[in-house]
């Protein structure tokens, strides 16, 4: 399929890049320390809260924010909305990076990581375990994402006449890819459907420890819908940023139409959540106005605000409002996940958790790495669309201000 993406023009070692590099270096130091002394001295996790932000943020929220590739693929490939195509490559890049970093976070978080190779061995599988399904799915999906993204790399490597081996390998790979792309793309929609809902299912077993405002058999549905929402929001956010930074005309119409779909999903989520709570007789918990009630209300507000903002078509075309709505949606989905995994989780009196500074350094460091990798890749490979129709002449490469 023809397109008009070009590598972004600009130096790689800019000031923001170096700053992020420094943060990432710090993160690596902390990680070295973690592997020498263990999780206890480096993180705030404890016997009451064995999962901290490395799971709740890096994995659960991180993968949801990385669902851009998934969300856009649904529109573009499942519902045949080809106009979203320019958004695919950047979204898939963000997804690939996000999921890879989520995988790295898991490895860092595992206490007995030397046994991790035993997980894919089928004869070991405990098919009751939701976490196993999440692990296998995510492992597979990371591979699928990089394969989905590979045309961008292959297009460049194919042309490297200087390195004939690389050239030939790239051409062969591209041929193989073209044959199996449909199977891979379908997998790229199936896998996130499975594991994003399963991330919600992880909490089903905590019948006595998860607050009743969050524990429900509909957790998988709620998590899947918020994952789709956060995916779209991430695409809008990233698109706005990229347009600003790489100075391209906006894809306002595409994004506006995507926002329209988000409104539907937003109301679907709100509806399911509230009706479920009402049917279980748990709305009284909101009326208590304790800490949990306020967190719930904040969540609902954060979901409702973008839903209302984006109802009007005029506002959907306002880039500023679109960006605010996207940010609100990402915050809403993130808060919902934080609440489900950390805030609403109560192991009993006497236990508390807050991430330590080294723990936060690792999380921020991973985000910094994503930033670094993203910049490097968009400047080296054709990811960002030039904004001109395919086959048009004089398509100028986007320029970077970062």
């Amino acid at each position: 399929m023809s397109h008009n993406a070009r590598p972004v023009v600009g130096a790689i070692l800019t000031r923001p890049f170096i700053a992020a590099l420094a943060v990432f270096a710090l993160c690596l130091l902390v990680l070295a320390w973690r592997f020498v002394v263990g999780l206890g001295p480096t993180t705030g996790m404890n016997d009451g809260f064995p999962w901290g932000i490395w799971i709740a943020f890096d994995v659960v929220i991180g993968t949801a924010l990385a669902c851009g590739g998934f969300s856009v693929a649904i529109l573009c490939y499942a519902f045949n909305k080809g106009k979203y195509h320019p958004l695919i490559r950047p979204a898939v890049l963000t997804s690939a990076l996000g999921y890879s970093l989520a995988g790295a976070s898991v490895i860092v978080d595992l206490g007995r990581y030397w046994n991790v190779w035993k997980i894919p061995l089928i004869w070991n599988w405990n098919r009751n375990s939701v976490l196993l399904e999440v692990a296998i799915c995510i492992m597979t999906y990371v591979v699928v994402l990089w394969i989905e993204l590979s045309p961008a790399f292959l297009e460049v490597w194919e042309k490297q006449e200087k390195y004939p081996l690389l050239c030939r390998a790239a051409r062969r790979a591209h041929g193989w890819l073209n044959r199996y792309l449909i199977a891979i793309l379908a997998l790229g929609i199936l896998l996130p459907t499975m594991h994003q809902s399963s991330l919600g299912s992880l909490m089903l077993v905590m019948v006595s420890k998860l607050h009743k405002l969050w524990h429900t058999p509909l957790l998988p549905v709620l998590f899947l819908s918020t994952a789709i929402l956060m995916g779209y929001a991430a695409v809008i956010f990233e698109s706005a940023l990229a347009n600003e930074v790489f100075d391209r005309p906006r894809e306002t119409k595409i994004l506006a139409s995507m926002s329209g779909i988000m409104v539907v999903v937003l109301f679907f989520f709100l509806g399911v959540r509230l009706v479920d709570l009402a049917l279980r007789g748990r709305l009284g918990l909101v009326a208590r106005l304790d800490f949990y009630s306020w967190m719930f209300l904040l969540e609902m507000a954060l979901f409702l605000a973008p839903a209302l903002l984006l109802l009007s078509q005029k506002r959907r075309y306002n880039p500023g409002i679109e960006l605010i709505s996207a940010i609100l949606m990402m915050l809403a989905g993130s808060l919902y996940r934080f609440d489900t995994f950390l805030v609403g989780f109560n192991p009993g009196p006497g236990w508390s958790y807050f991430p330590t500074i080294p723990e936060m350094t690792v999380t921020i460091g991973f985000v910094a790495f994503e930033f670094l990798a993203y910049l490097f890749i968009v400047k080296t490979f054709p990811i960002i669309h030039t904004g001109v129709a395919p086959h048009a002449f004089g398509a100028a490469a986007p320029k970077s201000s970062v």
Partner: protein
Amino acid sequence: MSPTRRSVLKGIASAATLAATGVPKALAAPPRRKTPPADAVGLLYDATRCIGCQACVVKCKEANGLPPDTGTPRGAMYDAPDDLNATTKNIIKLYKGEDGRTSFMKAQCMHCVDPACASVCMISALHKGPRGIVEWDPDKCVGCRYCMTACPFNVPKYEWQTAFPKIVKCEMCRHLVAKGGIPACVAACPREAVIFGGLEKLRADAKGRIAGEPKKYFPKVYGDTDGGGTQVLYLSAAGIPFGKLGLPDLGDEPVPLLTESLTHAVYQGFIAPVALYGILGFAVYRSWRSQRLGEGGEK
């Protein structure tokens, strides 16, 4: 593009597909509830007989090769853990009521009939072993700590302060039981406050004690059906409900029932995922063809 009726309907349809592959099926056919094995063993702890001598705490450490607790949180107390932890598999806790009544409470793994920890463990490092004892296999554990979040009794503990951590929990001295012996805590108890034996015998014994001295005991055997039943049963003094001793109110359903129902419903024989994959494959193929032939955009 504004959300037309068509797109809204499509959205609802997709949500319906998801819901259809999930919840209703789950409610229709729950998986079979587990029962204890025929040769299941258990513990019966009678809080009215316990004198809080902590001989069981000491002997447990000896039998399991655990070091004393030197990192004590309550000032300069040597080997006085305040909870189960990485060096304590069994502990005696004290309940002090406002009316001055006291009761001791022995806390260790409950060896549930349908354990949440074993249900969630990815490659069955935690599993139900011979005689129903819940065992931990260091060769399989990856240290993901899902078992710790899942256990309603907060039993599995973790060695946070080392680079090569283990999950630490009571395994009913399986190394002694396998050779025909009894758990160290039971052997140590001078008052037979905790006893070991066949699960059904212990259950009958516990119910018999309540029937024989109804004024002495709280009228319930904890673990009989709680959370699907546990192989460690508890008796409490009259007027001291189990909640005061730190035992949660779990109802009669096994803790992992909900999560297993849903996962079985969706992934039973992998039918739903394969079906969905087929549908998606077809949809992607159609999109691919139309977008290849046209300039993109809706058809």
